[in-house]
Subunit: 387 residues, 2 copies
């Protein structure tokens, strides 16, 4: 019960996490901070961002001086996105600010070639790959592993952008011509014939503790995550996926939450596709369906606090993304109808302006009957998609 008279409070000295970027990931860190009693401050790029309730500074994250000003108000710097230049982060670290994950780890998530080289060094399973600077190199890889190969820009890609499946070198001529923008090299990868995609979410703290959530199955639409099933119903490689994640987290010195996206082959074999060093769309189910959510775990990890239990609260959980339909539908029109029809659905809306394909929110369901959860979740999404 609340007191009759709230007295003037003395601020209790819990550490403050500073988040660079004010998207939905920063937004979803705030509830976890509130529960733990940890302070949170967000560095946004514009007013009215998704994480607006926690934004304490609006500015340009490429500007070192602005970042320093922000860093002085917090105990540790972490991220909503991976786009802060490594050089800026290295300067922050050099000046004594705590940056987690640090630039030495983060560069592997920022540059896919750096990541591939490191995974090779660690002996982890991944698609056959090669760095290429010239059309001849692309042609050679096409000849060996074609008729189709995957070409990626090592930097700047996200949500399917910066990735092309090609069968002729002409299809990446523009990238080769502007190759300096991507660090001077392209990443070529064998086009893996996978039967499914998986993601292994985990967290590691600076003092070494590592915890993983159950391996999940992810489903993409036009390169963007649309659904996640936790745990992955078909794979038998749960232990292997966890070992891979731990090798990467330790090998790269990752601190905080990390998602390892994996291809699942018909043989059952799993290959590392991508890495994200922050809470990830594949882990949103954990807010409602795990003892410890990825957002809480990330805060614990970057503060070097002990990690929480990653057990599930139900046999199955389903996460369904609400992807923007167009520039008009903000999903609010049918929101009350959806709430009435699906009282079991956990709604998460990010307060973002609508745009086609944009991540606007997500739904989570948990329970005993996976087919039922999927059917209800998809029907709820369709209802919200209606104009």
């Amino acid at each position: 019960m609340a007191s009759a008279k709230l007295e003037l409070e003395k601020e209790v000295s819990m550490p403050v996490v500073g988040v660079i970027g004010a998207g939905q990931l920063a937004r979803m860190m705030q509830p976890a901070a509130i529960a733990l009693g940890i302070g949170i401050k967000v560095f946004g790029e514009a007013e009215g961002s998704s994480a607006h309730q926690a934004v304490t500074k609006v500015g340009d994250y490429n500007d070192f001086d602005q970042l320093v000003e922000f860093a002085k108000t917090v105990d540790v710097i972490t991220f909503d996105h991976e786009h802060v230049p490594t050089a800026v982060l290295e300067r922050l670290e050099a000046e004594g600010f705590s940056v987690r994950p640090g630039p030495n780890a983060l560069k592997h998530a920022q540059n896919k070639l750096t990541m591939r080289r490191k995974l090779t060094e660690l002996g982890l399973p991944q698609p056959i790959w090669k760095a290429a600077k010239t059309e001849a190199a692309v042609a050679g890889f096409l000849a060996e592993f074609g008729p189709k190969i995957v070409v990626k820009t090592p930097i700047g890609g996200y949500d399917g952008k910066g990735v092309r499946v090609i069968s002729t070198t002409a299809e990446v001529r523009d990238w080769l011509e502007g190759i300096s923008a991507f660090g001077g090299e392209l990443l070529l990868e064998q086009k893996v014939e996978f039967i499914g995609e998986l993601a292994q979410l985990s967290a590691r703290r600076p003092s070494g503790e590592f915890r993983a959530w159950p391996l999940v199955a992810t489903f993409q639409e036009a390169g963007v995550c649309s659904e996640v099933i936790a745990p992955a119903p078909a794979s038998s490689r749960h232990a292997e996926a966890e070992r891979i994640a731990q090798s990467i987290a330790e090998g790269l010195g990752v601190t905080g939450v990390m998602a390892v996206e994996l291809f699942e082959l018909e043989s059952g074999e799993i290959l590392v596709n991508e890495l994200a060093m922050r809470p990830h769309n594949s882990g949103h189910f954990s807010i409602d369906a795990s003892i410890t959510s990825q957002f809480e775990q990330h805060l614990r990890a970057v503060l070097d606090l002990p990690l929480g239990d990653t057990s599930s609260t139900s046999s199955h959980a389903v996460m369904i993304n609400l992807l923007g339909v167009d520039s008009e539908n903000d999903f609010l029109r049918h929101y009350p109808t959806a709430m009435a029809k699906y009282p079991q659905v956990k709604f998460h809306l990010y307060e973002k302006a609508p745009r086609q394909g944009r991540k606007m929110g997500h739904l989570t369901l948990q329970g005993q009957d996976l087919a039922e959860l999927l059917a209800a979740g998809r029907a709820c999404r369709e209802l919200l998609y209606n104009r």
Copy 2:
């Protein structure tokens, strides 16, 4: 994944809930608002309150003009506490502002005599009671129902304050002498020989929908809630408790979350002890262990949005309050040790200045084995209590 470039966002027009009072209840509404995509603004009384991350105005809730200024920035007014004078709320309603629960309902939670009279009218089970203005009336009730009776001040009591168990009229002489401060009457109640205390949490929205959580068992220390077990392990009166709550919610026109505190007699009979018309300490377990938390439900209810599923995610949940030890121990000293030893515990710290007996935070555990949950929760609390 976060976008490479966060664009300037257009604010999406979700309704905004305004909360009067910035204690831990307002604090715990914020995560629910963030998930639902609902706006939240809190009217606090001082800087640095527990709900500071959501406070948009600091002032005096007894001042009508300040409340109006705040009310203009939100779509509906609700409460962290029950202390805003009825007259002020009636004026707000008269000027067209939405107040939920409204003053007509809230007066029953603010005045225990008003509540007793209404429950009698509704024919609901409660202890034998009487209003008294004089020492003679107290003496008469003592003679009939003594040797001990309970005397309560109808207004201004909370957490055991304003309640005395007496065997002579002298023990309430001071209250009788200053009786005008309590509305001119004291409430006398039969001292019920109960074997346990229960609480029935529910929610009702203006358009009538009603949902209840499982009946819980509550345990008090010096009049303050110390532990809650959900569902109540021994009672067989779950359906009856829910019917009582629904009768009260409908009979009093309550909107939002309501807690009905009940005495459980040896016969199994249940009697209404107290009412709270807001999220309540007995419902904190629902944040972690119910599909819909009481805080989310309260926001839905006061906005007249459809109510969420109140099912539990586990067979058992245990909520353990962290009550202030003294003015020094803010529980932070052993917090990392407790996290390391009890990864399954959900910690909730309210960022309040320490004071003996004060509600500083709570712990929640859920699982299959109630005895194990209780043992772990209590051991974790003891660890945090250490200086």
